[in-house]
């Protein structure tokens, strides 16, 4: 098997055993990027030179007898919303074109400390706002399963990079489903850790109370290894949790659901769900039962209001978070011809630098926070948020994990929903509750829809700091399905 088709744990073991060098692994992946990314467009920036340099450093440390972590020398694609001092950081926006941050995000630092080799920065919906990566100012990313379809979003570059074997691992951020939905529609694993379980320092903010960095991988174990590598408390982010990282790697290896109580969220299903998605989800339920899990239906009535609440809270926070992009200190500045006031330059810069979806959300949020509307919009949305957290709490008294389809449909064609924001927003219907309540949730492949042959994701939700349960159940499902399929789902994807 070629190096690019090996998973991260295998690559780590091969390098530890001295069978292959980090430079060879990095070069193989860079070659793969050169071969396929003109068609996929997962990367906004490929850092070939620095990747090889990092790989050489790992090889040198290993040669010097240093004990390295399990992912040392493993290549990774990094979502272009994390700051990197040696690479441009754009957040997929024109307003940050060419911007080079003077500091590394905490996640970036921890990737480097773990010896991961950063291949480059991946495409995303502008400022992580979207579910298709079509909102990137630098053009859409394409789904490796069907190049005319979207890879999900906002972390679509990261999902496509892993699904097209350009990297065994990638980073994402999940604000309303931006890791789980792209993972689902590209047939890979994507995890949203508990809010505060991974640091937001250096993550360009979309919605502060929701943004959560997390891993993409082709296996549940790989996702757990990456999760463990960059998570944990960070003094630079006071919303990061003071607690040990849950035992995610151990759970991924355990892969056992016997006796586990699994709840199916009643509110997710029926109308608006593609038949193939419903069928594959039903199969997953049966599979879990066959593995000894006790599956029951659980009602979470407030989940119905999650989408509208999210579309008040996230835009409100983003309207404030994105105020700093004013052309005064960094990034794009237009119309500064010496005749215009600072206020005009700010306004014209923002008009030129932000895309339509970003402007739409800034306007929504500005309105929702404005005097006289605050209580009705932002205030009510926060109450809904509390109710959703209570629904989760009540549900987790009855069951250990909750499951649902990750997203109501498979990957949709590029352009299909571009002019219909509401249709686009529905892609996050099932993923948003976990963001509003801060819970952990993962998406793992559960087959292909009969009508279009495209991958379907199973979402497994766990309590706050119960991240290990996501991995434990996810790994069990993965193992059982792979036994049934004779290998990973991704094997069925067309080769590029």
């Amino acid at each position: 098997m070629s190096l690019t088709h090996r998973n991260a744990a295998e690559l780590g073991a091969l390098m530890a055993a001295g069978e292959v060098s980090a430079v060879e692994v990095a070069q193989a992946h860079l070659d793969r990027v050169a071969e396929v990314d003109s068609r996929v467009h997962a990367f906004l920036h490929v850092a070939a030179e620095s990747a090889l340099e990092q790989a050489r450093a790992v090889d040198a440390r290993r040669a010097a007898g240093e004990k390295l972590g399990p992912l040392a020398g493993v290549p990774i694609a990094h979502k272009d919303v994390f700051t990197t001092r040696d690479m441009p950081t754009t957040a997929g926006s024109k307003i940050l074109e060419g911007y080079r941050p003077p500091y590394d995000a905490t996640v970036t630092t921890r990737l480097r400390e773990a010896g991961l080799v950063i291949l480059g920065k991946t495409n995303l919906d502008e400022f992580a706002m979207g579910s298709s990566t079509e909102n990137s100012a630098y053009g859409p990313t394409r789904n490796p399963w069907d190049l005319d379809r979207v890879p999900g979003g906002s972390s679509g570059g990261s999902s496509a990079a892993v699904a097209s074997y350009q990297a065994p691992l990638s980073t994402g951020t999940d604000t309303g489903g931006s890791i789980r939905q792209p993972a689902a529609v590209t047939g890979i694993v994507g995890m949203k850790p508990t809010y505060g379980g991974s640091s937001r320092y250096g993550l360009i903010a979309f919605a502060s109370s929701l943004d959560t960095p997390g891993p993409f991988a082709r296996t549940v174990l790989d996702a757990a290894l990456l999760h463990e590598a960059f998570s944990g408390h960070d003094v630079m982010d006071t919303t990061s949790i003071h607690a040990e990282v849950p035992p995610v790697v151990e759970a991924a290896r355990q892969a056992d659901v016997a006796g586990l109580r699994v709840g199916v969220v009643r509110e997710f299903g029926g109308e608006g769900y593609q038949p193939g998605v419903t069928a594959r989800f039903q199969e997953a339920v049966e599979l879990l039962e066959s593995l000894g899990a006790k599956v029951t239906e659980v009602s979470c009535p407030s989940f119905t209001y999650a989408l509208p609440a999210y579309y008040l809270i996230a835009p409100s926070e983003c309207s404030s978070n994105l105020a700093r992009f004013d052309g005064m200190r960094y990034g794009l500045r237009v119309a500064d011809d010496g005749t215009r006031s600072a206020e005009e330059v700010m306004a014209l810069t923002r008009a030129a630098g932000f895309g339509a979806e970003v402007k739409r959300r800034i306007m929504l949020g500005t309105y929702a926070l404005s005097s006289g509307y605050y209580d009705a919009y932002y205030g009510s949305a926060q109450k809904v948020r509390t109710l959703i957290a209570r629904d989760f709490e009540a549900a987790f008294h009855q069951v250990d994990v909750l499951i649902s389809p990750t997203t109501p449909t498979t990957a949709f064609p590029i352009g299909e929903r571009a002019d219909d924001p509401m249709a686009m927003y529905l892609a996050d219907l099932c993923t948003i509750p976990a963001n509003l309540a801060g819970n952990a949730a993962i998406s793992v492949p559960c087959g292909r829809a009969d009508e279009d042959g495209l991958p379907v994701g199973l979402q497994i939700m766990a309590p706050v700091l119960g991240d290990d349960r996501c991995y434990r159940v996810g790994a069990a499902v993965e193992k059982a399905f792979e036994d049934r399929w004779g290998g990973p789902l991704l094997k069925e994807a067309p080769s590029l």
Binding site: P102, Y201, G202, A207, E317, S320, L369
Partner: protein, 502 residues
């Protein structure tokens, strides 16, 4: 400036109207590092050298609250007799301005850290209780300089430059409730309040409260209502009043201006006004009628502040002696009158006198030098008393030298001159300038004999019993000794030599 100035004289204004005041004071805390990052806070560093990703609002940067600043704010709240919130949050105040890097300020909105306190101030022997509505914690903005244009403000400037060193320095905002019933004392009450607040900050050690450096800034709200009216008038807010004297002048000026407008049947516009130090006048700024909507919402990047009640009690127990109590104690210890004490406060001399007393000088002497010769010198050179290049310990030594007879008051003044000129310690100056009193009796008698020989008329008068005539002879001795003789001893010796009993 071409503002048409129409004011009503203060006395007339007060006959017709009653003022209501409100003061918002911003105090920059003297913490080592900024409110939400680790940058240093030293004043006067080269522009944009005390900055980092957080206080420049680079993409991805996050704030971390400064615990020391929270503690200082709670101590201020306790000293102002406030209730300390058990749980409260920071909030974002959203508006665009180039000196505010994030284009929102992290402040507090409907959940301030401290509420419902008071501060008693003394004016004209009367105690006025100023109610405190709230004390909250926020961050300062950067400092803009608008170059070119007529007003020094952003509109009309050729260009503007921004120094972000100040951006993110912790700022405590102290807001009073409306202060009514002060009548014609309103300007003095305003000044006394700010003075008292400044002393309170100093005694807590939370800020250097230097108004000229902007570490204490004051916004003054004034409204007038006709005498006997039940409803308060529309207020104006005069921003950035940056000295104690200006606080008083701003209130007085605004009373005079508003009275003229109202007397003409005009209407006061609720607006922000700018104070001009040079003229004492205010000019119209932004109208509150086109006020911005700040879209406050709880800051999602920071955890709520939840000070443990036991910790708050510990802070309360550890509060230092507060200024009022301290002044009462010192006044009793020094045995000075209310008037003298007030004079010392006004001259900012209380701390200096206290330090001089602590260095061993009797209170009366310490006060005499600081409030006399040194106050005069400070006044002449336009510096604050505390900024004179002279230490309380040095004054104590001068006092000691005078008490021992080694120096006369006149010589002591020359020593002070030497101290101000940086000529060294008092003893070094006495030595270098040759200022020691002539204590060698032989030398003194030789001088006396010279003087007696040169003034036979006066000497004869004294011999004849007109002792008062000895004064001229003493003067002669002082002159001949260039002031270094001990006048009292010289007098004794003159009388002795002329055969008159002292």
């Amino acid at each position: 400036m071409t503002t048409t100035r129409s004011v009503m004289p203060f006395d007339e204004a007060l006959e017709r109207f009653e003022p209501v005041l409100g003061l918002e004071t911003h105090v920059e805390l003297g913490t080592e590092s900024k409110m939400f990052c680790g940058c240093p806070t030293a004043f006067g560093a080269p522009p944009n050298t005390q900055v980092c990703p957080v206080c420049l609002a680079l993409p991805g940067a996050l704030p971390v609250a400064n615990d020391q600043a929270i503690e200082s704010t709670i101590r201020i709240g306790l000293a102002l007799n406030c209730t300390i919130a058990e749980w409260c949050r920071f909030a974002r105040k959203n508006y665009f301005y180039p000196d505010m890097p994030k284009n929102y300020q992290i402040s507090q909105y409907d959940e301030p850290l401290c509420t419902d306190g008071h501060l008693d101030v003394e004016v004209d022997g009367r105690t006025v209780r100023v109610e405190i509505e709230r004390v909250h914690l926020e961050e300062d903005t950067g400092k803009s300089t608008h170059v070119g244009g007529a007003t020094g403000r952003i509109h009309g400037a050729d260009y503007s430059i921004v120094d972000y060193n100040r951006a993110g320095i912790p700022l405590v905002e102290i807001v009073t409730r409306p202060i009514a019933g002060t009548d014609r004392l309103a300007p003095e009450v305003a000044r006394a309040y700010v003075t008292e607040l400044r002393e309170l900050m100093r005694s807590l050690g939370v800020s250097d409260v230097r108004m000229e450096q902007g570490s204490l800034r004051c916004d003054v709200n004034v409204s007038l209502m006709p005498r006997g009216a039940a409803e308060w008038g529309t207020r104006t807010e005069t921003k950035n009043v940056n000295s104690l004297r200006s606080v008083e002048r701003a209130v007085r000026g605004e009373i005079e201006r508003q009275a003229a407008v109202l007397a003409d049947g005009g209407r006061i516009v609720q607006e922000t006004r700018h104070f001009h130090e040079d003229t004492g006048a205010t000019t119209s700024g932004r109208s509150k009628e086109e006020a911005q909507d700040y879209r406050y919402f709880p800051e999602p990047d920071l955890l709520p502040i939840a000070p443990a009640p036991e910790w708050v009690e510990e802070l309360r127990a550890r509060l230092p002696e507060l200024p009022t109590a301290r002044r009462r104690r010192l006044q009793a210890e020094w045995g000075v009158s209310d008037l003298d004490m007030a004079a010392m406060r006004n001259a900012d001399a209380v701390d200096l006198v206290e330090a001089t007393v602590a260095a061993g000088a009797p209170a009366a002497d310490a006060r005499k030098w600081w409030m006399g010769e040194l106050a005069r010198r400070a006044n002449e050179s336009g510096t604050a008393l505390a900024d004179l290049p002279i230490e309380p310990g040095q004054i104590a030594r001068v006092v000691e030298l005078v008490a021992s007879g080694a120096l006369t008051d006149k010589l002591a003044r020359q020593v002070l001159e030497g101290l101000l000129a940086g000529e060294g310690s008092p003893d070094e100056i006495v030595e270098a300038r040759g200022l020691r009193v002539v204590s060698d009796e032989g030398e003194l008698i030789a001088i006396i004999d010279q003087v007696l020989a040169a003034n036979t008329d006066a000497a004869d008068k004294v011999r004849a019993g007109k002792v008062a005539a000895a004064g001229a002879l003493v003067g002669g001795v002082m002159k001949a000794s260039r002031g270094k003789a001990d006048a009292a001893r010289a007098r004794e010796l003159i009388l002795q030599r002329l055969g008159v009993a002292g």
